[in-house]
Amino acid sequence: MLLVVEQFLNGLQFGLLLFLLAAGLTLVFGIMDFVNLAHGSLYMMGAYFAATFVAWTGNFIIGALLALGATLLLGIVLEFVALRHLYGRDHLDHVLATFGLILFFNDAVRLIWGPAGLALPLPGWLTVPIQIMPGVYYPAYRLAIITVALAVALMLYLVVMRTRVGMLIRAGASNREMIGALGININLLFTLVFGLGASLAGLAGLMQAPILTVQIGMGENILILAFVIIVIGGIGSIRGAFLAAIFVGMIDTLGRAFLPDLLRQMLSSTAASTAAPALSSMLIYLVMAIVLVVRPEGLFPASRR
């Protein structure tokens, strides 16, 4: 029971983290129709910035805020210099260009920070376990991730649903040409959305950093997961991304935690211990394939085109 609660919370935490990544991706995808493979690189840069700034300032919160600003800036520069010239091009051009950016960022990081990973130490007040139920303790930092991510999700919801900018974003997602024709400064909106996506990716990276090591290529695996999420959720739909992220986070975490035991009851223990990790890694892709076969446009399509 204890383990179940813990793994459940782990799944929720991972899912919320994935949501931060997927939200930016689905906005950029839904509004600019731009496939950004380099989104994972922004996630990685967020983590590296955080590790550096926290070491500089000696304060976790200040370092994290600086890192957030730095990724926002990086995203805006990236959009302004290169990516905005690619809107309206073929998806394949996006894939090729941002694939090039992944190569660039990985080696740039290797040049600046070296090939070895970095560690991002937590301040003392975040490392203590907190009693969430009688007899059930959970790490404070993971709870902090859940809180921050939920707060960001709520804020995102309010911004998108309740403000003028959010209205433009939603309008952009359902019909790009039309809002341009209505006299909205679409370039500014695009830069804004891209910067927002970049800083969300950076936030996800810097929050994940203390749990895993900060290393080159950390963005690539998780990028694919984020793509899976926005495809399951339906491209351009933030609500879809949120639900799909939680769903994927849960499946992944619970699969890894309980599948080995489940398999052990059916197979011999050696067969189970080799098959389980592969099977639990596959689980998400299996889910996505099934979703796409049944609902080719994802579960919550943002617009019918």
């Binding site: 091009r89 998806h91 090729l96 660039f104 299996l286 394939a289 796409l292 446009e297 994802g298």
Partner: protein, 315 residues
């Protein structure tokens, strides 16, 4: 247009002859490395040619094409591991396995379009990747060493460097010929018609997905052949051969060379792999140059290198 066509054919011919004469250069200059490099290039070019068939002509953007490379390789590796060394068994099994996988993936994936298609093919490739990682008997994550290359009796000796190179080259040229025949056939014209306007083709009465699926399976099978060659070339096969970045590499080769041109993927593979090799000799941080280069090619060189050649000759 005819001038540009001439320039492009001349470039293709030049490269074809160059590839044929390469072993001669290698033996005269004593530069063995160039031969091993170009063996690898020929194999990956074959994979790129197969991807171009579905991507360039069929309009099916598969982001999981490396899976067939791995499946072909694993078919050879697993059979060799189990003591079946004959190439006459290994290679047909490799092709059949790749074809079967392509059939299943294609049948499910072709229900979707556009970006969803890109992602679902990726998902299947990732599944294949994790299955291979879980094959504990065959090395799991670490991969499988192949101690003996496929045995074709007295017909051809795959351990002979030059013989193997020419085998790879023959497969490459054969596949280019096959693609050429396919796209000029009635079948190929239907597939290209589907790329331009699916609804219209269906209105005429062509079952869209059946044609697409056949094309998809042909491309997968061709790539399975590349996988069998690659496993013999490296004497090793590992899940990494199927990782999504490898699929990305193949896509880059196709787009770099010029999508939907017969010889473009070959040029793309040569440029990509030679550049990678040269840059990695200059600096350890080769991707620092390669990455922005790709970006520049996308920004300013629409239609890839073949497109550039065509525009250049038109002035």
């Amino acid at each position: 247009m005819t001038a540009s066509l001439k320039v492009r054919s001349a470039a293709a011919l030049l490269i074809g002859v160059g590839l044929l004469l390469l072993p001669l250069y290698s033996s005269v200059s004593g530069n063995i490395f160039v031969l091993t490099l170009f063996t690898r290039i020929a194999i990956l070019a074959l994979a790129a040619v197969s991807l171009n068939l579905i991507m360039g002509y069929g309009g099916m953007m598969s982001f999981g094409h490396a899976a067939y490379l791995g499946i072909g390789g694993y078919a050879v590796g697993i059979l060799a591991h189990e003591g079946i060394g004959s190439g006459f068994i290994q290679w047909p099994v490799a092709l059949a396995a790749a074809a079967l996988f392509a059939l299943v993936v294609g049948a499910l994936s072709l229900r979707t379009r556009g970006v969803y298609f890109i992602m679902i093919t990726l998902a299947f490739a990732q599944m294949a990747y994790y299955i291979a990682s879980g094959l504990a008997r065959y090395g799991g994550d670490d991969g499988l060493t192949i101690y003996k290359r496929s045995d074709f009796g007295g017909l051809i000796n795959l351990s002979g460097r030059v013989q193997f190179y020419y085998l790879c080259l023959a497969c490459l040229f054969g596949s280019i010929y096959l693609v050429w025949r396919i796209i000029n056939s009635r079948f190929g014209l239907v597939v290209q018609g589907l790329r331009s306007n699916e609804r219209r083709m269906e209105a005429i009465g062509f079952p869209a997905n059946r044609y697409r699926l056949a094309c998809f399976v042909i491309a997968g099978t061709m790539c399975g052949l590349a996988g069998a060659l690659l496993a013999n070339n490296t004497d090793f096969v590992s899940p990494a051969a199927m990782y999504w970045t490898r699929s990305g590499d193949l896509m880059v080769m196709v787009i770099l060379g010029g999508m939907g041109s017969m010889f473009g993927p070959v040029i793309g593979a040569i440029v990509f792999l030679v550049l990678e090799e040269l840059l990695s000799q200059v600096t350890e941080y080769w991707a620092l140059i390669m990455g922005p280069l790709l970006l520049l090619i996308v920004l300013f060189g629409r239609g890839g290198i073949m497109g550039l050649l065509g525009r250049f000759s038109r002035g």
